[in-house]
Amino acid sequence: MLRYILKRIAYGILTLFALMTLTFFMMRAVPGTPFIGDKTPSPTTLANMEAKYGLDKPPIVQYFIFVGNCLRGDLGISISYENRSVNQIIADSFPVSMELGAQAIIFAMIAGILLGAVAAVKRGTIVDSLSMFIAIVGVSVPSFILGAVLQYFLAVKLKLVPVQGWGTFAQTLLPSFALGMSSLATVSRLMRTSMLDVLSQDYIKTAKAKGLSQGKILWRHALRNAIMPVITIIGPTVAAVFTGSFVVESIFNIPGLGRYFVMSIKDMDYTLISGTTIFYGALLILCTLIVDLLYGVVDPRIKLEG
């Protein structure tokens, strides 16, 4: 087990290193520079700006400085947010994205599992059709449309919640819902299929034959086994929710990390691009690792071997 974990961590570091290197050279291959806006600075100022951010050195030297700084945990100084460290930007904005993402995932998981399970148990009834309708809507309507529609009806027309902002619990409801909806859809469909599969297994028939109540069968035997495939997609779901939060964050004016991840590319803010990419990369590698370890906890038949 320990050997497995160590091996996975080693792979993770390798992946991260590859990500770092690719990001560094790819962003420099994009045409344009971060310093030229509508107005062009004088050549002397341009040289001073490049010196300030170390861009006056040859790319390979820059690369080694960059790697060295990353190893020390220093992601550099943002170019568009002058004098502000990327570490600080992430430290300020990621907790917001995490809170939003966590709420969205919790909502998607609980509602998705329940919806899927109920649909399976009540297969062929109106409940089944309704839950699958929700799933289809969730998958096919993108979050920016869902967010805008929710905002218009629930906030502007019915005035149940604020339109935008971040700070009160009421302000978190619409964005969490809009962000979690597509994951909810995926989870519920997966749950339904898996539950149907489990319900047709012999051990469920055995349990029925033993005379166990319907509730006990579902809770003890069906749900626990059916939930396995759902756990496997937690990793990708977390990835989708965190990297997809940009749209929802901009619709609801949420000061999260998503906007920096996307806008830094448009601004050619090299340090912020690499900083957010490495951060998200590390986060996703960690999530996948945790999920893999969770398999063993949920299903003891799976052995983690190095």
Binding site: P41, K52, I251
Partner: protein, 592 residues
């Protein structure tokens, strides 16, 4: 009965149009850049007492010497007093300085040495409003030295190069090859005593005060700056000190800034507003929704949103910052191509082709199709905020041109065709289909729509087929700077109230002249304005420059931008939006 309905409708339409637009006289700063609310009860605004919330865009840095965006300067104007500032008529008045006088320099040239007498008793306060120190002349000396410090790489350092030896010092300190040694002590500004600041100019500058009002010229209190460190200064409310009408208490990056009234400010007694929230919105629908639910008091609106407000009879306000939008044309001639690395030899090098295109585009239809607002077809390149013989330079140019715009608002296909025939000869083509032009377009639905409209107009009125090349904004700028394009649409806004801010753009040495236009006559004309001390004669030179631009046409002006915004009924007056004053909210008054 029918007649009565008709007349009612007419009256309603008239009322809508009356509330709908304040006239363009606003640009003269007649104090009318504010809303005149009739009470409709439609948009009561935010609920917090004594506070307003306004929309603001980019807020990346709050260290005044590093600022570049008009939006950042707008916040700065509320937090810091420079030596002078603009009043509600855009006239220069004292801010940190109470009075000033000018004198000749050692060589006897008039108006070269200026002495500013600072307001005594002005205080530096921290984010909580505690008094930290007095504001003295040393704070200006320190801030301007930091502006010229190459380590800070301040983009607007140029504002400090009007002082004697400043450019020479900057070049030397930046390590420019061959730059002679200059000490910072030799740069032309010093504190004679705590309340007397003396500056000496490098060259005569009739609009010096326009430079000194610029927010990057605000003072900085040295001991505090050094205490928090140059890197950290200006990155959080507690990492700055304030000497303006407000102080900053909260800043969530890319989201919101809160400023609170500074009771230590010299005119605090006349400020009734307690709090300003500056909120950033990235989604235009969210913004409109937030305005409707009373989460924000002032928002900028699109052409479509404007018609919604007008349909409700709600007043829509309009202001101009002085932006001119135009097509850069790549005019590099074959023989000069070697002087520009990576530049393209474009068909646009034909003056007749540029004129043909200028006649073939319909500026009014571009505005009504793409922008749907009050943007004006530009009669000249520069709006020229203040004129001498007319309220604006733009109006003076039109008057000098016999009342006709230099660029027609509507397409003239006949004239366009005439010029096209000449252009084909210039380029040695036999047929218009041989003309190969691409519109370099940066991503964005409005930019792309503009290119499509122009493409269609050129197809109809000129019979030529131009292509559209959509790239990212950074790539577009890189290609523009490398002169690797045919036509590129861009805008230019003035930094200070003098035609020079616009018209020196097309001199051959200007780093923002991306057209390859290099005219000795034009350069000489602009140079001659520097030694002309008579304002009327000087304006005449600028008028000639405008005429020369229209004749040589390195750019094809399209429109002068107008911006629409709405204000909630909570605000009853004092809110200003003028050129160089993106927002002036200091004396805003609120409904009870």
């Amino acid at each position: 009965m029918k007649k009565r309905i008709l007349s009612l409708m007419l009256a309603a339409a008239l009322a809508v149009s009356l509330f709908g637009c304040t006239d363009t006289g606003d640009k003269q700063g007649d104090g009318d850049g504010q809303n005149t609310n009739q009470v409709t009860g439609l948009y009561p605004g935010t609920s917090e007492d004594g506070a307003i919330t306004v929309e603001i865009n980019t807020m990346t840095v709050m260290n005044t010497i590093l600022m570049t965006y008009a939006t950042e300067l707008a916040v700065a104007r509320h937090c810091w007093d420079a030596l002078v500032k603009l009043d509600d008529n855009n006239q220069v008045i004292g801010a940190a300085a109470e009075s000033w006088e000018s004198a000749p320099n050692a060589e006897g040239v008039e108006d070269m040495v200026w002495t500013f007498h600072l307001r005594e008793g002005a205080k530096w306060v921290d984010t909580e409003g505690n008094v930290v120190a007095d504001v003295t002349a040393n704070d200006f000396v320190f801030a301007w030295r930091e502006l010229l410090n190459p380590d800070n790489a301040a983009e607007y350092y140029g504002f400090a190069t009007v002082f004697k030896n400043a450019q020479a010092y900057y070049d030397y300190a930046s390590g420019v090859e061959g730059a002679p040694e200059v000490s910072i002590e030799d740069v032309g500004f010093y504190a004679q005593d705590d309340y007397t600041l003396v500056v000496e100019l490098e060259d005569p500058l009739p609009y010096l005060l326009q430079y000194l009002k610029f927010e990057v010229m605000s003072p900085i209190y040295q001991p505090f700056y050094e205490d928090v460190g140059a890197e950290a200064y200006g990155t959080a409310p507690d990492k700055m000190l304030y000497n303006g009408p407000f102080r900053m208490t909260e800043w969530v990056l890319e989201n919101t800034i809160t400023t609170v009234k500074n009771d230590e400010w010299y005119d605090a007694a006349n400020v009734s507003l307690q709090t300003i929230h500056w909120d950033k919105y990235t989604d235009t629908n969210t913004k409109l929704n937030a305005f409707q639910t009373g989460e924000i008091d002032v928002i900028d609106i699109t052409g479509e949103q404007r018609s919604q407000f007008e349909a409700e009879g709600y007043p829509v306000n309009n202001w101009i910052a002085g932006y001119s939008f135009f097509y850069y044309c790549n005019v590099i001639q074959e023989e000069d191509l070697g002087n520009y690395e990576g530049a393209k030899l474009s068909d646009m090098r034909s003056l007749n082709l540029r004129k043909a295109i200028s006649y073939a585009i319909d500026r009014e239809r571009i505005i009504s199709t793409v922008y749907k607002n009050d943007n004006e077809p530009s009669p000249a390149f520069s709006l020229g905020i203040s004129g001498v013989s007319a309220p604006t330079l733009g109006e003076a140019v039109v008057a000098a041109n016999g009342g006709e715009p230099l660029y027609p608002p509507n397409a003239d296909a006949t004239k366009a065709q005439e010029y096209l025939a000449l252009a084909l000869e210039d380029l040695g083509y036999t047929d218009a289909s041989q003309i190969n032009i691409s519109l370099l377009t940066s991503e964005g639905s409005q930019n792309e729509l503009l290119s499509q409209v122009v493409q269609e107009q050129l197809r109809q009125n000129l019979g030529i087929e131009v292509s559209i090349d959509v790239v990212t904004i950074t790539e577009a700028r890189a290609r523009r700077n490398a002169k690797n394009y045919d036509m590129f649409f861009g805008g230019w806004g003035p930094d200070y109230d003098d035609p020079m801010t616009d018209l020196d753009l097309w001199t051959s040495a200007n780093g923002n002249n991306h057209t390859g236009y290099a005219s000795e006559e034009y350069d000489a004309l602009i140079e001659s304005t520097k030694s002309e001390s008579d304002p009327a004669a000087r304006e005449q030179l600028f008028i000639e420059a405008e005429m020369m631009l229209a004749e040589d046409m390195p750019i094809i002006p399209v429109y002068w931008r107008h911006e629409d915004y709405v204000v909630s009924e909570k605000i009853t007056g004092g809110l200003l939006r003028l050129p160089f004053q993106y927002y002036n909210l200091i004396y805003t008054t609120l409904a009870d």
